[in-house]
């Protein structure tokens, strides 16, 4: 398995099309097959925290283990983005499944705040395992 460690400042364009802003409270989401990217993101506009996001990318829902993992590492930021460009093209038949694990670290505690799942580019977490 290939592990990819990424700390990204996501391009402004991606930010503009996201529209799913953690405007006034911390929120988390994953998106898959977004015409060239897969991602898991936690953010709260204007408020920085110690955060870490792991985004597990599976080739399909039938896979038992991730094809690869993006890990932001522990970062002090208002937006922790595990963003992977150049994958997730539905037009070429991609069917990625993305699972995001959103950690934060208040005063040394380690809190898994949310788990998010996506098979498409919508801004909704998955429901199928609830």
């Amino acid at each position: 398995m290939r592990y990819v460690s990424v700390i990204t400042a996501v391009p402004l364009l991606a930010l503009m099309i996201t529209g799913h802003a953690g405007l006034v409270a911390p929120t988390a989401h994953s998106r898959a097959n977004c015409a060239g990217f897969n991602e898991s993101i936690t953010w709260h506009l204007g408020h920085s925290y110690w955060w870490r996001v792991e985004s597990h990318h599976f080739l399909s829902l039938g896979d038992k283990r991730p094809h690869h993992i993006l890990n932001t590492g522990k970062v002090f930021t208002w937006r922790a983005a595990a963003y992977h460009g150049k994958e997730g093209w539905q037009s070429r038949g991609d069917h990625w499944y993305v699972a995001g694990y959103h950690f934060f670290y208040p005063h040394g505690r380690e809190v898994l705040d949310a788990t998010t799942m996506a098979v498409d580019c919508g801004l909704n977490g998955g429901w199928w395992d609830h």
């Binding site: 799913h20 802003a21 953690g22 405007l23 006034v24 409270a25 911390p26 929120t27 988390a28 989401h29 204007g46 408020h47 920085s48 110690w50 597990h56 599976f58 080739l59 399909s60 829902l61 039938g62 896979d63 038992k64 283990r65 522990k74 069917h95 499944y97 699972a99 694990y101 959103h102 950690f103 670290y105 208040p106 005063h107 040394g108 505690r109 380690e110 809190v111 898994l112 705040d113 949310a114 788990t115 998010t116 098979v119 919508g122 801004l123 909704n124 977490g125 998955g126 429901w127 199928w128 395992d129 609830h130």
Partner: protein, 254 residues
């Protein structure tokens, strides 16, 4: 929305995402295998595993990293010297100025997964009945926003209320419903009290003279993670006592 109806409607979509010649049973088996693999993966890291509940362990058993260890040593040293963590936080200023900041943050639309501030919780599609801070314990309600994550077909797994409370300042209360977020936590036992109704509780005061203070109480149980914060211009241990009392009221309300 009816969960079974959603499942039937969307099943062909998920089969498509599962690859060719993959049926619902194969998808379910793969999901189970993924869940087990993921728990093993995070357990190896020493991190919380999804749906893993709250674990309280000695700090020396936590894999904190050098930077976090240094930060905690500094924080403990500050608390011994000042009674609080001597650090100016941008969050404190944001909370103190929230009335002004909030003016442009109210959402104009009400899409199901739309973020942004609302005037009342009923305007948010929640995955569960959010009770939050009792109305009679709020001096002025400033707004409420969806938080944590949005679960399709169910709603938001948490929310954050902003309010003013006489004697406490400008406050926020955030709730995370673990049934929908699948959260978990590992907490150093040295930080833990049981002051909120016997539950795992962590309290901190962070601030600096002339920049304001942030009073925080977080408490954890098997169903929720909850965070109550109030910002005020001055330091006082009485404020922390009042904050703990409000936390107990919120906990009893939920």
């Amino acid at each position: 929305m009816n969960k079974k109806l959603i499942a039937v409607t969307l099943l062909p979509v998920f089969c498509a995402y599962a690859g060719e010649n993959t049926g619902p049973e194969d998808i379910a088996k793969a999901a189970k295998a993924r869940e087990e693999w993921t728990k093993e993966h995070f357990a190896k890291q020493g991190s919380p595993v999804p749906d893993g509940g709250v674990t309280v362990i000695p700090e020396r058993r936590m894999l904190l990293g050098d930077e976090t260890k240094k930060r905690r040593i500094k924080e403990h040293s500050d608390i011994m010297k000042y009674g609080y963590i001597n650090q100016a936080l941008p969050q404190t200023q944001s909370l103190l100025n929230f009335k002004e900041i909030a003016k442009n943050k109210f959402t104009k639309t009400n899409g199901s997964n739309e973020e942004g501030l609302r005037h009342k919780i009923e305007e948010i599609e929640m995955a569960y009945p959010f009770k939050g801070v009792p109305v009679h314990d709020i001096t002025t309600m400033l707004g409420v926003a969806p938080s944590v994550n949005y679960v399709e077909g169910q709603g938001w797994s948490g929310a954050m209320q902003y309010f003013q409370k006489d004697g406490l300042g400008i406050c926020s209360y955030r709730e995370n419903n673990l049934k929908f977020s699948h959260g978990a936590a590992i907490i150093p036992e040295e930080d833990v009290t049981t002051e909120v109704n016997g539950k795992v509780t962590v309290k901190t005061i962070t601030g600096k003279e002339n920049s304001g203070f942030l009073y925080e109480v977080d408490w954890y149980d098997t169903n929720y993670f909850r965070e109550l914060k109030c910002a005020d211009s001055s330091y006082s241990l009485d404020k922390m006592s009042s904050l703990l009392e409000l936390a107990r009221i919120i906990d009893n309300n939920g």
